[in-house]
């Protein structure tokens, strides 16, 4: 069916790339709602962590001022024990907080992931035509994981850093306002340096990303097209190009290394400057104010703790940006509406009594490029119908419409006189089984592939396999019906896959069988088995077959000859052959294909 896809325009895949978007954020936060209690607890824990982080230097101050300098050994022991208690408390809070945050993050991810998966699989085939599978897979996997970053590394870490900073500021101010202000003197410089560094680094990171993308594209292209490179002796030219790309990439990196090499020492030095200034001012004021040595020492420690969160904060920007882009892409898909859907109040169809009718059906995959034009025909219950026509004549599209993979643009399709759009999708599709040319094999065992997700009994599976002559080859597989089909060495041939698909269709016992016969060459033994299986499958069953086999065509009750989107001829084999029209030509091609060519003129 891939042939129907050619000519589809793949949608562009672009997002705005903002680091913060309140609309998206609000929507994300909605996913936190089921876990409100956990979120509140986590926030409280985060506050407690910030408090315990602040306690250390303060305890040291008390130890020095109240116990060490006055030489109070019992007091020192007491404060040490308090310290240990706080450390233990901090350990448990820390641990529990990390656990809780991850738990929330993972739960939300799980929720979004399953919602997204289910949403995608319910979207119409039009959507799948426009979006490559690889892209959809990325949405469900990597993009959802990136979202987790917003919660765990982004928002939470930012709040944590802000809490800690605010706490340090408050404690320092309350210990000694003037001294605190002296320490804060370096802050403006710190902000300027960080800001400058950030903007420079962001720019050079962007350069790195671009140049890396170039290297990867070039590499990918050269690996895939290596035979062209070698056939046209382009090795040295391409090597030179690669070397240049590589060099540009190196230079971008060296630039970034320079910024980082500069930034870290400057930040560190600013920290020391703050300490130096604090000591100098504190020493100068030592006698004048009643400032204690303990306060001074606590200040030194707080100052050291001050700078890490600030440089951390700027790191978070990139993470947030990536996650926002991911959420935008995910929500774009969640906003996508299914074009083919069940009606709100579906009609009931317990079983088919009369038959199928196409009435003046027009259909286009893309606006106005009609692949089916004014198609009308009817099939009675129990009839075997063959669709015949050249590639691109519209045979597959007829099947796509009957199963409601797509909906018609004009005209109507009826089952037992009722429009199929009045039925629920499930009810409609339960009447039909479809076997495609390229049989899709799922991972899992042979039995899994026959029953799919239903809980059919082993007996039902084996009976189905028996009827379509698949039992024999299945029994010869290493583990019979329990053989893993995707495992190496258990590969089954194209013909065997066909038989498996027949068994699958039979196990589901459909009222209508739709079949796209394989054109690929199959070994004679399997071919015979397939012929027999087909007869079993189609006996006493309404069937529509895109026919390539002469036997199928000859035995059909009705042959529809499609040519360029229209039904040009209709009737039985003998009748159509007498006509000497398109069917006769198609038939002759078929004959040449199977090597039965006898008389040529």
């Amino acid at each position: 069916m891939t042939k129907a896809k050619t000519g589809f325009t793949i949608e562009k895949d672009e997002v705005s790339g903002k680091a913060y978007d309140s609309r998206l954020m609000r929507r994300l936060i909605r996913y936190l709602k089921p876990y409100t209690l956990q979120v509140v607890v986590a926030a409280v824990l985060l506050l407690l962590i910030s408090v315990t982080r602040l306690a250390g230097p303060y305890l040291i101050k008390i130890a020095i001022d109240q116990y060490i300098l006055p030489r109070d050994t019992t007091g020192l022991l007491f404060i040490s024990l308090v310290f240990i208690a706080i450390l233990l408390l901090q350990f448990f809070i820390n641990f529990f907080h990390v656990y809780l945050m991850q738990w929330i993050g993972q739960k939300v991810m799980f929720d979004i992931r399953r919602e997204l998966f289910d949403h995608i699989q319910h979207l119409s085939l039009h959507f799948f035509d426009r979006n490559p599978v690889g892209r959809l897979v990325t949405r469900v996997t990597n993009d959802v994981s990136a979202l987790n970053e917003v919660l765990t590394s982004g928002v939470v870490a930012i709040f944590g850093d802000v809490f800690t900073l605010a706490g340090i500021v408050i404690v320092m101010l309350s210990l000694d306002t003037k001294l605190a202000l002296v320490t804060f003197c370096v802050l403006p410089f710190l902000f300027i340096v960080t800001f400058k560094f950030r903007s420079r680094v962001r720019r050079s990171f962007r350069k790195i990303r671009k140049r890396l993308a170039k290297i990867n594209t070039f590499l990918q292209e050269n690996i895939s097209g290596m035979y062209i490179v070698q056939l046209f002796s382009r090795e040295s030219v391409n090597y030179k190009r690669f070397r240049n790309l590589n060099r540009d990439y190196l230079h971008a990196h060296l630039q970034t290394i320079f910024y980082f090499a500069l930034f870290f020492p400057i930040i560190e030095f600013l920290g020391y400057l703050a300490i130096g200034a604090t000591i100098a001012y504190g020493g100068w004021q030592y006698r004048a104010t009643g400032m204690t040595l303990g306060v001074l020492i606590a200040f030194i420690q707080y100052a050291q703790n001050f700078f890490r969160p600030i440089s951390d904060l700027s790191e978070k920007y990139n993470i947030l940006q990536g996650a926002m882009a991911a959420s935008e892409r995910i929500f774009k898909i969640l906003d996508e509406k299914a074009e083919v859907f069940s009606p709100a109040q579906p009609a009931l169809l317990p079983s088919i009594q009369k038959g199928i009718e196409f009435r003046n059906v027009w259909f286009a995959y893309q606006n106005d490029q009609y692949v089916l034009k004014d198609i009308s025909f009817s099939i009675e219950k129990g009839q075997n119908v063959a669709l015949v026509g050249a590639t691109g004549s519209g045979k597959t599209s007829i099947i796509n419409l009957l199963t409601r993979f797509y909906d018609v643009q004009k005209g109507q399709i009826f089952i037992d006189g009722g429009d199929i759009r009045k039925l629920s999708l499930e009810n409609l599709r339960r009447r039909i089984a479809i076997v495609q040319q390229d049989v899709f094999i799922f991972s899992g065992t042979v039995a899994d592939n026959i029953r799919l997700g239903e809980d059919f009994s082993q007996q039902r599976i084996e009976e189905a396999a028996h009827h379509v002559s698949a039992h024999e080859f299945i029994e010869h597989l290493p583990n019979g019906y329990q053989t893993d089909v995707r495992e190496r060495g258990n590969q089954i041939s194209t013909g065997q896959k066909q038989l498996l698909a027949f068994a699958r269709a039979l196990a589901f016992d459909p009222e209508i069988l739709i079949l796209d016969e394989a054109t690929a060459s199959i070994d004679p033994h399997t071919e015979t088995l397939i012929q027999q299986a087909l007869a079993t499958l189609m006996a006493n069953r309404t069937s529509i077959v895109i026919a390539h086999r002469l036997s199928t065509i000859k035995h059909a009750d009705l042959i529809l000859v499609l040519h360029k989107g229209r039904i040009r001829e209709m009737g039985t084999h003998e009748k159509l052959l007498k006509k000497g029209g398109i069917y006769t030509k198609l038939y002759r091609i078929q004959i040449e294909d199977t090597g039965f060519g006898l008389q040529r003129n």
């Binding site: 060490i68 050994t73 310290f83 289910d118 996997t141 391409n238």
Partner: protein, 581 residues
């Protein structure tokens, strides 16, 4: 050790490594000195108050901090810079090596795998050479110096301070191992999620047709739930490790506060020294964690290095051997195959069986047959992209192995079945074999391939960019560009492998006429499904199951009424059908 393999890459940067290490030593020394210098202002303040000496001591402290910063700058810039330069050299060499490898290599390794080694693995090696070495050295020296300074303050306290060291280092190392193990499991479940999504979305028709949405959802939910649980386990471990390190180092600090405080009381050490000691303790936290981390970097780096060298150790299968005769500088277009057998790998079946035929210079030869009958494999062995196992191929009377590869490739113009254009301009793609070609020649080649008229319709004409960042051309345009690319070489032998499948019959016939007219002495081998346009070929070879089953001129083969005749009639009918509206 695997790292020794890199000697060749390290040698050019010996000077930089030495200079970087010196900077590193100074960084460490000044870094150790800074907390040490902190004790003086405090002690002076405690005894005499803020005097000249007090401010001097702060000045010295800041000076040391400044030096520490300057050296740190040089250390990072040099040592990390070198690792990037080596990465650059390594990647260039890997690329050159990849170019020299035969197609059988690309048959064996998937693009994704090759890409992974050229990117991720090289990154891991670079990480080892840069951050790995830098952190290893600085951690080592820092710990050494800090301990020396600490023991100058107080030996007993230093021994106490050492207690958390082995616990944390060993703990981090073990955790890393375990984390690695669990991360692998998480990674593999993640692949399961990917596989499930991939399967569902590619098989969406079957899923929908058999009403399997709900069951599929449950299957997916099960895997995603498993992923959730393993991830929480991972988080617990990470969180535990992090909290554990904080706890143990914190306990170490309390130990020092208590015992150090008592020393201060006993006036064995000064308060300033006590503060310095606490500062050292704080700074030693990082090296403790770093050791486990560095070990991890080294392990990953050497595993990656191993993977990269796996490629470097593969020798190109097809290259000029001693047999190659450099006196061969020109070829005429005769080709002769005798009993050629070929298969893609020793375990597989032969795809060419006992092929024997000969082609005279300037002939037009058509090769027809079903998909998988061995036609493209024939192209692969004539162009020597693959090596045959049995039999012989001679071109211009020389065995293929004697002809220098450069000459062989220069004289052949090939349009492979899977046409591949590069993300370059149209002109660059046509002049792929020689990008100094004159524009006139490019125009002429485009005209032969009947693509010229369409190129001038594009916005930038011959400068139009193709591929990812450029425009997408249709299948037929691609094929004709590939033909232009091949004829530009003015080859002695021109091979078109199914090059007209997306080109309409009228254009195909015109291109064939152009080829006959403009390249009368060139041997033309044309593989095609459309036999009707090749009826006047000098020779037609019919392939079936890797063998030549029929050969001769059109009339002879038609008289024989075999495979060729069947094919020919079928196509005549198809063409007639096309004409009906």
């Amino acid at each position: 050790m695997t790292i020794l393999k890199l000697k060749k890459y390290l040698r050019p940067y010996k000077g930089e490594y030495i200079w970087g290490s010196i900077a590193l030593m100074f960084t460490v020394i000044s870094g150790v000195l800074v907390p040490w210098l902190l004790q003086y202002p405090i002690d002076i303040l405690k005894t005499t108050g803020a005097n000249r000496q007090f401010f001097m001591s702060i000045g010295i402290f800041l000076l040391a901090a400044l030096f520490s910063g300057i050296f740190r700058y040089f250390m990072r810039k040099v040592l990390i810079g070198v690792s990037r330069k080596i990465e650059n050299d390594l990647r260039n060499d890997l690329f050159a090596h990849l170019q020299s490898l035969s197609l059988s290599f690309y048959h064996r390794f998937r693009t994704g795998d090759i890409m992974a080694r050229a990117t991720n693995d090289i990154n891991a090696v670079r990480n080892l050479l840069g951050h790995g070495i830098m952190y290893f050295l600085s951690t080592f020296f820092y710990t050494l110096f800090a301990l020396a300074m600490m023991s100058r303050i107080d030996v007993k306290l230093t021994l106490l301070a050492l207690i958390p060291f082995p616990i944390v280092s060993f703990g981090v190392y073990r955790m890393m191992k375990y984390l690695y193990h669990i991360s692998n499991r998480v990674q593999s479940i993640f692949s399961d999620i990917t596989a499930k999504a991939q399967e569902n979305f590619s098989g969406i028709r079957v899923v929908k047709a058999y009403n399997q949405e709900r069951n599929q959802f449950h299957q997916f939910e099960k895997i995603a739930g498993n992923y959730l649980r393993q991830n929480i386990k991972l988080a617990l471990l990470r969180g535990g490790t992090h909290a554990g390190i904080t706890l143990i180092t914190g306990l170490g600090l309390v130990l020092i506060i208590y015992f150090g405080g008592r020393e201060v009381m006993a006036q064995k050490i000064s308060l300033g020294k006590f503060v310095s000691f606490l500062a050292y303790m704080a700074q030693l936290t990082w090296p403790m964690i770093a050791i486990g981390w560095v070990i991890n970097i080294f392990q990953m780096g050497s595993a990656s290095l191993h993977r990269i060298y796996e490629y470097f150790d593969i020798r190109p299968e097809i290259r000029d051997t001693d047999e190659a005769d450099n006196s061969i500088t020109d070829l005429n277009g005769t080709i002769e195959l005798k009993h050629v057998h070929f298969r893609y790998n020793p375990k597989a079946d032969y795809v060419l069986h006992d092929i024997t035929f000969s082609i005279g210079a300037g002939e037009l030869v058509a090769i027809v047959g079903e998909t998988g009958s061995g036609k493209s494999s024939l192209v692969n062995v004539i162009t020597r992209l693959y090596q045959i196992q049995k039999g012989s191929i001679t071109i211009s009377g020389y065995p293929l192995e004697k002809i220098p590869l450069k000459i062989l490739r220069e004289k052949m113009g090939v349009v492979p079945q899977e046409d591949f254009l590069f993300s370059e301009t149209i002109a660059e793609n046509i002049a792929f074999s020689d990008h100094y070609k004159e524009m006139e020649e490019i125009l002429a080649a485009a005209d032969v391939a009947r693509i010229g008229e369409e190129i001038v319709e594009f916005s930038d004409q011959y400068d139009t960019l193709l591929g990812e960042r450029g425009i997408n051309v249709s299948g037929g345009q691609k094929q004709r560009l590939a033909i232009a690319r091949a004829v530009l070489k003015k080859p002695t032998i021109l091979i078109l492998d199914d090059a007209f499948s997306a080109v309409d019959t009228v254009t195909e016939k015109r291109i064939l006429q152009n080829l006959k007219k403009d390249f009368p002495v060139t041997t033309k081998i044309i593989i095609s499904h459309r036999v009707t346009s090749l009826r006047d070929a000098d020779q037609i070879l019919v392939f079936h199951d890797g063998k030549v089953v029929e050969s001769g001129k059109h009339e002879e083969l038609m008289r024989r009424n075999g495979k060729y005749a069947a094919l020919f009639f079928k196509q005549l009918l198809q063409e007639e059908l096309e004409k009906i509206d």
